[in-house]
Symmetry: C2
Subunit: 492 residues, 2 copies
């Protein structure tokens, strides 16, 4: 039969503080008297403050107001509204945004800080950007809790909050298994879920759906490796491998010695650059296998002619260099996997190096090397959510400290954040969501909250509570451990 | 980025033999000419052969006919029926059962063998029992395949089949996380899915639902350990733990020295015995922690009085012995976890010892010890499906050979089979089904098919195909590896 973890079994019984917020905000001051107001969906509204530079017609906030109001309304049966007339009602949350921008996209430099005060009615949420307001609305929605009669309450609280890292990403792999659009949208934060190709409209839908939630969409088109499936659609693009003096019929990475290859990339990335609004494109550049290049006589000749000797990383660099120039010509910045840096490709100073592996020592050393060279680092190595293991593996992800490496303050400042990865070898629509949630939440708090927020038992209680919140929103997040939620998953 | 498993990537491209069956039947003879007939749901029916001892009114088969016919009908869009008039149609499957029993329950001695011939129309399925007929119907449904125009075809085939082991079980844990009834029913083979307590009616529903699918339901009520949650409901049942000379307020296992304890068990198991029709009850008996017993002065006194010295396994045996006598008095047989055997409790000769752990050496040695003592062994140790790991962990489960231990032929004959376990620490309705399927299928074939059926690449191709079958039936079975199914999961 099954082994127990009694310690945590007990933790499971500890009550959750009402209105716990995940991830932990930077500064929370609860009213010492524990004062609260009662919140009745029928008598509550979201609105814009007079001082706000954006108002009705700002889709990002109009639609967010509607989403969060529906969450309240759909939260299930309640005691009759009028049973507690003596309790003060909270009737309104007023939002004030100081910059008048609504239609843009969130980017690396977006200011996501916000201030939230629920100590008086109406509650006030102020931020510089609509993106900060979105973060504050999520926090507000988590501050609302229910008593045993399922009445909504809001504690008098003041919150000052901002993210610790600018980049707090999730990588979804739609190549190894096709993910239906609805699975992608749900992952971006939908709470009401609605042939293996994404149309241009699909992509636009995802981008706008993400924008309305303050989420950036960065596409990766990985070359020259990992392109096997491109072969049939682009004859001549891949390198023909040789068995001795004759082609073996197999194909290797993109063929870096043909002009047609670069014409192809120019066309491909012209479209990609226009379809994806984010300044950054992810260009891959990882795991290039040189075996096939080595076997090809034309490649060998090219190597000789270029004076590359037997160093095929030089050939890879040659390809990447030209690819990067193409991307630059479209005015885009790029993210590349660490191999591109390891192989000494000359990249633009604003390149982001994506750290994913422990080849030369632990990933901390790679982060140190990357930042010492003056490049910005994006951390994924410890956060491969597809690599499951038995038990509470969220704890290891949670305990990671991204700035724990040998380097100057300047170097630490070059770590822009991290990205949880969900590679698709063993994941598709059937198991994506429970595998992703609430484990991704552990990484979210590490990247948003203060460095000092890392107590495992406290996090367990709050993350288990956050998981219940996800269930209430119709997202089948798997359990952290034993125990139950007031509202179990019902979408089943 | 993500590591690849190229070898299996390629395997993924190998075409599946049309009409592959999982688990592999004992004997399959396909028509050498590859002759086939076309099957049109509108013009196909299941029926009883004249020779059959059971006929219309036999719920087990009537309802199975309806289920499998619906599977055909709901299998999605097809080319127009009349496009290929020249092809021979298969219009009927006639079932003949030789024993006239329909209303009973499957048991350890049920004969599940069957013969199936689709070489002529009507196809013929003959078996001794309705349970064998159910197995044959599932095989028949898997023999039907579709061409690129989504037309149904049935190859001319002769199959002679029987299970290698009588007990091919799945253990579901409903204690650590509550599983909604629908999740349990779906797990029992539903392909169209409908407060944390199972009512008597729920239990009856599960038992009948299982019976109609030829599945036995064996309940486990685990004592004297794992009973912490019983405490509040049954004051005085658990042992009060002591800190020095005073009760610590904590409670331990069931208190084995009180008559009231045995009165409680007499009542409990009187009801359990009547509610669960199966001859066997699982009585648990695992992981008894002696710390609390040791701390309790009354227990200490009892130990002395009984002359048990400091050997608390003697006290545990004392409890189990009395419990087993109670069960026997209800005319029931029992299954116990291996500790009961390890501690030398005197059990009835027909007791089944459930092997789950590797305490004194590998589990094979425990199986050897159990069978050498003349008891029947049920194997679960290598089949804990809740213990997930990254990658294709179905392969390890598949490669287990239950009879691979040192012992006589008589001993091997005492291994009644195995049971896949899905303990609930980290599993609930949100992740049960994808975690269970298709991994449980690997164990199903090991326990049903011939010992020689163990080629991993062949199994990969057929199991991946079986997983697609599950998706078509609306069960969100997770992917084995990269690749896709014609009909992806749509229940999302």
């Amino acid at each position: 039969m099954a082994e127990l973890g009694l310690a945590l079994l007990l933790v499971g019984l500890v009550p959750v503080p009402a209105g716990a917020v995940w991830p932990q905000p930077q500064l929370v001051r609860e009213s010492p008297g524990g004062e609260r107001c009662r919140l009745s969906p029928g008598q509550f509204r979201f609105g814009y403050a007079r001082s706000s530079a954006v108002g009705p017609g700002c889709a990002v906030l109009d639609q967010a107001f509607a989403r969060y109001w529906r969450l309240l309304r759909d939260a299930g049966p309640r005691a009759p509204e009028d049973t507690r007339p003596w309790e003060p009602l909270c009737t309104e949350l007023l939002v004030s945004v100081s910059t008048p921008h609504c239609d843009g996209f969130p980017d690396m430099d977006s200011v996501e800080s916000y201030k939230l005060s629920t100590s008086e009615d109406p509650s006030l949420l102020s931020s510089e950007s609509v993106w900060g307001a979105l973060r504050g609305l999520e926090t507000f929605s988590q501050l609302i809790w229910r008593d045993e009669d399922r009445m909504f309450y809001l504690n008098k609280t003041n919150i000052m909050d901002f993210p610790r890292f600018a980049h707090r990403g999730l990588l979804l792999d739609t190549s190894r298994h096709y993910l239906p659009l609805r699975a992608i949208l749900e992952t971006l934060g939908a709470y009401n879920p609605a042939t293996h190709v994404y149309t241009l409209n699909d992509v636009k839908l995802v981008i706008e759906y993400a924008r309305l939630r303050g989420i950036r969409v960065i596409s990766e088109f990985d070359t020259p490796g990992h392109t096997l499936s491109w072969g049939p659609g682009a004859p001549g693009l891949l390198t023909p491998c040789y068995a001795g003096s004759i082609p073996s019929g197999a194909y290797g990475p993109v063929n870096p010695i043909l002009n047609t290859t670069y014409q192809f990339m120019t066309e491909l990335f012209r479209e990609v650059s226009t379809v994806f609004p984010d300044f950054y494109l992810h260009l891959g550049g990882d795991e290039v296998d040189f075996t096939c290049w080595r076997s090809n006589p034309e490649i060998q000749a090219f190597m000789q002619w270029m004076g590359f000797g037997q160093d095929y990383t030089k050939l890879e660099s040659f390809y990447i260099q030209r690819l990067l120039n193409i991307i630059s010509s479209y005015g885009k910045g790029y993210v590349v996997w660490q191999e591109v840096f390891d192989n000494g490709v000359k990249v633009k100073p604003d390149t982001i190096i994506h750290v994913w592996r422990e080849n030369a020592g632990p990933y901390q050393q790679e982060v140190a090397r990357v930042t010492k060279a003056g490049y910005r680092a994006l951390l994924s190595a410890p956060w491969y959510l597809n690599r499951i293991s038995y038990g509470q593996d969220w704890q290891a992800a949670y305990q990671v400290e991204p700035l724990e490496f040998e380097g100057s303050l300047e170097q630490k400042a070059l770590v822009i954040g991290g990205e949880a990865c969900m590679w698709g070898e063993f994941v598709d629509v059937t198991n994506l969501t429970p595998r992703l949630w609430p484990r991704a939440g552990a990484i979210a708090e590490r990247l948003w909250s203060n460095k000092t927020v890392r107590d495992l038992q406290d996090a367990y209680i709050r993350l288990a509570d956050f998981r219940c919140t996800l269930l209430r929103r119709g997202i089948p997040a798997q359990p952290l451990f034993t125990g139950y939620c007031d509202a179990e998953y019902s979408g089943f």
